[in-house]
Assembly symmetry: D2
Homo-oligomer: 356 residues x 4
């Protein structure tokens, strides 16, 4: 289905080249001030055409709230947000009406549904994430009232890696077009992406996200663990291939005696000395930073000829047309934050009924 | 909540030292032959006390079906399975009644619920996964009818890694106690775990899982992508820190021109030449192998003194008592398979309504 | 929440005097021909201003499909339908900004949410049902492919009752403005409603619905019985006070020997001689007609002064302004059908996974 | 599916003649004192063999809590309750292995699932309601902490009706075996049921339920209205044919000017003068009494020969064997209360997130 969340629940709709995309947010508590300019600023961080290292496609991504907000406040009824599609060049896609682009969703949609809106990838287009960003902005507004802060940034492009987040000033992510808070690494990343773009190729990367000031006690044990939901949320973003939190894949090489986070009493507050747990123990937040990495594959659309087959199984050749991103991670940063915000807002509401 | 799945849906219950644990499977189609000896054999693969490198705790893990099966067949009504707890040494846990073990769920449960069954970790104990394995065995029986095969194995312990799955004979995983199909690597892994055990420490590892013969068209686009649900399912297992599928984290260093999987017509069937996609495109299975890695941290319980605090924030020292695993991955193999089976069985049923 | 259904699932949004109302249909199988003129004709049956016995408010209720349909066919992705609001006279409602209308939702919304869009009743307005009718039309298109027919009609207005449905020609419901297929009763009903309208008062009524050609085996035992879901669906419509199916409340006076429906073999098909069961046994359809009655209270808005209180608890007087229905049942007929179609379409999909 | 509720959620399992029936309660907040003797007393009110007007079948209905309760308190984890089946006379049912009892679920289960546990009706047996009563007792314990009181009673048997609830002392329902608080009517009801029993027949009845001291603001607008969920919950009980609340079916004959409930300020509290609304406005509780009627058909099993068909469509004759109730309503009283408690407990938790 096209819904996400239990109590703070979103349902998205829309195809890349249809009239509009959008989202219904159901379960947002009444009484939240809905700052529309903040929603727009979040959409602007995601929108195409921001810089030389993103697609040159132009979309305004201006949104309209159709319901659920009255005199600037949420009313407890569903908040419907619609973003009209613009600058569609559907003709750019007539070549894939009957041909399957490699590593795209063309073949699987065709097989699953027997019919597909091939224009711009239809529903499988990353354009769908604009709806998530709009909803995530509302979730962020809710979380801000509780003090939760969410910051994502580009920590890797190809082989180029930024230092660990604990040594970075996360407020600097927006200082450059690649959204890496480490200026030196950022410069290299931009150069690499630009070079890849000129080679008519694409490259992958990693987005790291840090959630701070989370209340203790969010998350449900067993299946809906905080990190399990974060994992699903991130893996549901187009092009994502991996998720790790806390010590992650590197943690497997450690001994328990190295990995365990000892508890300490810090001025009356129970804290941990280290944070290999990534802020989550037993699936439940412990108040420390929740941090995780999200791996994005290289964008599938490349400006080169590729062998493939058509619907009838005949050999064919396709090449990317239109305007595409050489590397998805800079624009993925606000999407990762949005999904993280949706997960946390949901757990925040769910935690309200944990005990009498 | 303690439920997982949409149409093939399980709900688990039970604490480590309560009278029993169990699971209700709701949504299993009628007419499936329920092979009880298969369920038992799956439980046996997970149970403690199997070998020198697992905990020496003895539990029979014999199960009883209370409903939903009549004359050996599923009837379409809920299948309730109960496993009584045995060999409980609750006294082993009195020392943690008021003290928080590092990197366990003691503190977060206490903070979230204000009350907790501390004996054996209560609900946060890995004992809960026996219920998953029982339910997963039923899911496997369903998938077998469709031809889907699921094989997991230990691919890494500490720094020791097995070769890529494509070069392995997956049927050999059960040939050794560490469940690594590569005999040479297995031997080293066993030696390492044994040494770690003698050091009263623990170590992490990676389980790799391969799903073969999946029908094309399983999975839901947008949020409930095949790999997103697999990711959540795996991350919901105790001690898991990371999930990657297909090219995973390494894929971020590739170019699109290297990473894309070209389509070919193989004797009338549409296949891909390579499989960086890991059998999933746009969230939907494409018929190729679905493969993924699951990272497990070192077990938190170590037989050494560790600093911590008690409920009142006073400094305290805890040491592992009882009988624990020095490395969780050998016993995690059937759990990973069970969760994979639950995900796939659910998608198999969900796909039935995709098109007219 | 604002969603209904398990596999064929709708989520509605919108306030009476906001920019638009609408619905997302998630789970409609791909490959269904979406006849937009049929959707419009269903909306026209519900819209205000149809006749002298309905409100004179004018709303076109023209809709726009934003997604999920490509070249006239459903694609399996969410179908979003939006209906813009027109002819809003929000000023008609300024008198209730701080005053609670008797038997309306003003007080309870205020108490629950602390804020409300009072204009036209906001989300509690029956205008919301237009979204249900649009979605129900899509459900009807799906059911038509299976042969299921749904016909509702007005069977009672005040004390005036039509004969039992088995003696009526249900195709005649649209022959008169009150939607009662019995011409003689219809004439009296129209006269009664017209008189009530002149008295600036309102009156209640009953809608009867008959579902024919239902496949055997729809419905889930225990909680999601066919009639339990129909009951919830009907009771969720504004102004509904009661639901009964089959023998209903009158059936309580019968003996088991009178009430039981004997099975007979009718040309190789298992049928029942009588149908006190109302087409449902053990919560599951048995292929006979499903029929039920839905009781609607008199519309709460009357053109008379009524005593009430304001937000501060001060005594106040309110009188209906604007344009309202003297009796809701004629316009409720397509709403009842729409909700019945949504319930049946959902069960139709759910039944696909009942057995191997 | 076999689950009910959103946040306070139950999943039941079990067949009449299997090893056991039971329920998992998921979402019960931690810190609730679980009074096991209260749960048992509720089960005793439902159990067979209570009096001469109920079935003489003997079942102890003793339960066992397997999880979720520690030292007498709920822990926030799933509460699993199991009731073993006893006194099964499965041989009493061999005659219906291949024959469909009139107005039972035999035929529809067979058609839906292709296989059924025919013994005692299997899952379609009213025995399943014992699980609901056990779970409902826990819900009642939660509601008691908030002050909500739920009282059901038999208000009609056949044509015999008790006076309106407002003139009755609801605490007297348990004073007689038919559970009607009006002694004179109770006496007549008992005589009637006893006579029906001697005639080897059965008869229907009505249970009325009154919920008092409900907080204002429970219930969700649109689909999950308080009365819509109550309606579904009641209609999901075996043998129920109708549901009405507040003015119900009789309300349709009233004028709006008679039916509307005027608001008054009663010592600083907003109340309504009359209560045709039945305590619910716009789907949300307004603090007045919630009251409703539930119609039960005559029990389908009668001790008389009835014509029917077998699986192959051949004519056959069946007669009730075993021990059955001549009238279901006395034992239905605690079931109605249990379902009402489950609905209210769920809405109580859901309301916690309505506003900031």
């Amino acid at each position: 289905m096209n819904s996400y969340g239990t109590l703070f629940r979103i349902s998205t709709f829309g195809e890349s080249h249809g009239p509009a995309i959008g989202v219904i947010i159901d379960g947002c508590p009444a009484g939240l001030t809905i700052d529309e300019s903040f929603i727009q600023s979040e959409l602007n961080r995601r929108k195409p055409g921001q810089s030389k290292i993103t697609t040159q496609r132009k979309e305004d991504d201006t949104f309209k709230i159709l319901s659920g907000v009255f005199e600037g406040q949420s009313t407890g009824t569903p908040i419907a947000i619609v973003i009209e599609n613009q600058d569609q060049r559907s003709k750019d896609y007539s070549h894939i009406q009957n041909t399957f682009r490699p590593s795209h969703a063309d073949y699987t949609y065709e097989a699953k549904y027997g019919v597909r809106d091939y224009r711009g990838g239809g529903r499988s287009s990353a354009r769908e994430t604009a709806a998530r960003v709009a909803a995530g902005a509302v979730a962020k507004l809710l979380l801000k009232k509780v003090g939760v802060e969410i910051n994502a940034y580009v920590s890797q492009v190809g082989e180029l890696k930024a230092p660990a987040y604990t040594s970075l000033d996360l407020s600097k992510s927006e200082n450059n077009i690649v959204r890496c808070p480490d200026a030196a690494t950022a410069e290299k990343m931009i150069a690499l992406i630009d070079q890849i773009r000129l080679e008519r190729d694409t490259i992958g990367g990693v987005v790291t996200c840090v959630i701070q000031n989370t209340p203790v006690g969010l998350g449900e044990p067993v299946f809906d663990k905080v990190h399990a939901e974060l994992g699903k949320a991130m893996l549901s973003i187009n092009a994502v291939k991996g998720f790790e939190y806390g010590s992650g894949f590197e943690g497997v090489t450690l001994r328990g005696s190295q990995h365990n986070d000892e508890f300490v009493n810090e001025a009356g507050k129970i804290r941990t000395k280290t944070n290999h747990s990534g802020g989550v123990q037993g699936g439940i937040s412990n108040g420390e930073d929740i941090y995780f990495n999200v791996a994005f594959k290289p964008v599938a659309t490349i400006m080169q000829d590729q062998s493939t087959v058509d619907k009838d199984g005949n050999e064919a050749v396709v090449s990317g047309k239109g305007r595409h991103d050489p590397c998805v991670v800079p624009r993925a940063v606000p999407i990762v934050e949005a999904m993280a915000a949706l997960v946390l807002a949901d757990f925040y509401l769910r935690a309200m009924t944990s005990k009498l």
